[in-house]
Symmetry: C2
Subunit: 428 residues, 2 copies
């Protein structure tokens, strides 16, 4: 029988799992420091609930099946269930509703390197009822910065505003902005010349194409330079002006917070095509730009339109944790040395384990993770401690019991000493 | 559209989720204090991997479906995936392998009160290679005791040893012990008389039935009384004697640990029929015996026999967390008052938010969860803090900026005071 996990599923060894959990906990702790509250939604929902927002691609990827009379599906992201949750609980929730969710989602994609079929997303969203203040857009970069600073990873937050793109297209009288954005999205892959030809094929004229390329050329300037240039462009669209204003506000706040150097306007960032309506974010690791965006998101006007008539605008981000961990592990950026929470291994050298059990109890009461080994076999116990990087081993034999002492060995330095029993908490 | 979750799926409001997570974290922390290491296995596996151990009931309940050419199934417990994991990684793991897993499992049961289709199990297991010392059986009750003491719930750990039952049946020349155990299992429901009739129908004679009932009558005695009586029974089975020895050892250690009063021998505890081979545990809450066992498990000889020829004996327990939480919530035993991690809400009263953002940063650097409200609207901000039980609100207006102070309001006492900016960390 094939006892490997299915392709596209990540399963870790304990030391890797501990490192993964540490990463997850860092993100969770920071989300809580910013006042986000946890919610969990089921992995399985009615298929009709999850598929409503899907398009062709998502529908093909989603795991769905029937059980009895019910069509079930496994969630493919945490946003659609959030929308359903907010619609359902709108009278119970306090708005703005700041929620985090760190949980697994499922996509039955073709397996390929770096793509997972089961993976963790770490999401935060701030949801307003009817309206949501722009200051929440400005808070998002500081949360991203806290996380990647805590992880000691150099990062750049790329920021843009969808209203600027939409306003530009409006002013150029381009109707099919979706196709244009999709074409522009591959410019780095296919080059400028090919992209221009494709835009012509879609039906854009020379002047429209030129204006778009002039616009994107601003991207090489500084944040300030881009803002100045955007304001100087003679674009008569109100939505464009609104977008520039919002972008400027977010940038100002980011400067105030002292993280301005890590935030860069990038006019090419569009983040999908329909959902986002204002600020959009992507985050790259400066040392590993090839990983692509490790944290993205943005502002949207209408979270739950499919489930309710009530408007819920919001802003949020998501970190694809499984892929991030996998990539960082491959780059050697994950510390895999701590294989265990255990700080102390207590080894009884005589059948009388009373003192051992009591010591273990005391240590645990003082929040020191402690294991008690079976009686005897010192070599085996030391080997166990070594393999798991347990830093201390305490021996308790007849001498120790008689003389009210413990023998404690520091497994890192190899030093071994006797301590009086009452001094044990100060001995390591 | 029906936007409720499916029947049998638990979805919580934020304040409930926070209480649930607190419960989960308590269990996790205690598992780690005892040196257990986390692992996670996928929710989805090849159907052939998960179904191997199933019987009729499990097969019917399991969620399974095809995607492409692969038959997939959702795990219905955490033990079967653990067995596959240990078989697969046996050369990488350090034994005894102490692992914990706190994760969701899936059972497509008929929905009924108190039964869930998606629920958390909190499992620990200690797995040996070839052998596993009996002292691990004795450690389990102290872990259970730590957890339920931490949760401030009065509990009784019922303990038994499968070898005693198996030895008894062997000595009575009863072959079909499975049917006998199943019949005895419903004795509390159907009564002694009906049970005796059913045992007769299975093919037991008067003498066999009498011996069994005499055996179960020992159950009313104290632990010491039961042990003495078991030893006095003239049962010539070696396996019976081994079982009594093991039970006595576990009881001794439990006494040493000072939790003897919470542990009670219960000769009727059998925990399923085939899997367990030694010590077995169940845990009831003294105040709510009607909930039934909230934590059970036991010793088994062969974890992974379906996947490997290598023997992996182990001992473990599982807490059904979703059901436990649901029951405790219904009994009013869950504190639902903390709706938020947020300790401090900072309210800017002027457009200049610099000081607010800097203060929030400082507070978060000191691990104080902090939110910044949009500018203005004091009533709205206080209302928000009130509804979420945020204990402190800081106002920062032009006066505060000019005079280098903060105005801080204690939302519980209503007290409001001015503090110098440099003293803020000591002001609450």
């Amino acid at each position: 029988m094939n006892i490997n996990v299915l392709p596209g599923f990540q399963e870790l060894l304990p030391k890797e799992q501990i490192a993964f959990n540490r990463l997850k906990r860092t993100i969770e702790d920071i989300y809580e420091l910013y006042g986000f509250r946890p919610i969990e939604t089921p992995v399985l929902e009615r298929a009709e609930v999850l598929l409503t927002k899907g398009g062709g691609e998502t529908d093909k990827q989603i795991y769905q099946f029937e059980k009895g009379d019910t069509k079930l599906a496994m969630r493919f992201d945490l946003t659609v269930p959030l929308a359903r949750y907010v619609a359902k609980n709108q009278n119970e929730l306090v708005f703005p509703f700041k929620r985090y969710a760190i949980d697994r989602v499922y996509r039955g994609e073709k397996p390929q390197a770096g793509r997972f079929r089961e993976f963790y997303q770490c999401d935060i969203d701030v949801i307003g009822r009817d309206t949501l203040d722009l200051s929440y857009d400005a808070e998002i970069p500081s949360i991203i910065a806290s996380i990647f600073s805590s992880l000691e990873l150099d990062f750049t937050i790329k920021i843009n505003n969808r209203k600027i793109l939409n306003g530009l297209f409006e002013s150029l009288d381009i109707k099919d902005s979706v196709s244009v954005l999709r074409t522009l999205d591959s410019i780095e892959k296919v080059g400028e010349k090919k992209t221009k030809e494709e835009l012509k094929d879609i039906g854009l004229d020379e002047k429209q194409i030129e204006e778009i390329f002039n616009f994107y050329k601003l991207n090489t300037k500084t944040n300030e330079g881009i803002l100045t240039s955007l304001k100087a462009l003679e674009i008569s669209s109100d939505i464009f002006k609104k977008g520039v204003e919002e972008l400027e506000f977010v940038l100002q706040e980011v400067e105030t917070l002292g993280i301005g150097e890590s935030v860069k306007i990038d006019l090419t960032v569009a983040r999908g095509l329909d959902y986002y309506t204002g600020t959009v974010y992507e985050t790259i690791l400066n040392k590993y730009p090839e990983i692509g965006s490790v944290c993205g998101g943005g502002r949207y006007d209408d979270l739950a339109g499919y489930y309710t008539n009530q408007k819920f605008p919001g802003v949020g981000i998501s970190i694809g944790l499984t892929r991030l961990f996998d990539q960082l592990k491959n780059k050697g950026e994950i510390n895999l040395e701590d294989d265990t929470p255990t700080v102390m291994l207590v080894l009884p050298l005589t059948e009388d384990r009373k003192l051992c059990l009591e010591l273990a109890d005391t240590l645990r009461e003082n929040f020191i993770p402690t294991e008690v080994a079976p009686v005897g076999n010192m070599k085996k116990a030391l080997n166990y401690a070594n393999k798991l990087n347990i830093p201390y081993v305490i021996f308790i034999g007849e001498d120790e019991i008689k003389e009210n002492k413990y023998t404690i060995k520091n497994m890192i330095t190899g030093e071994q000493k006797s301590v009086a029993q009452e001094d044990i908490l100060e001995a390591f």
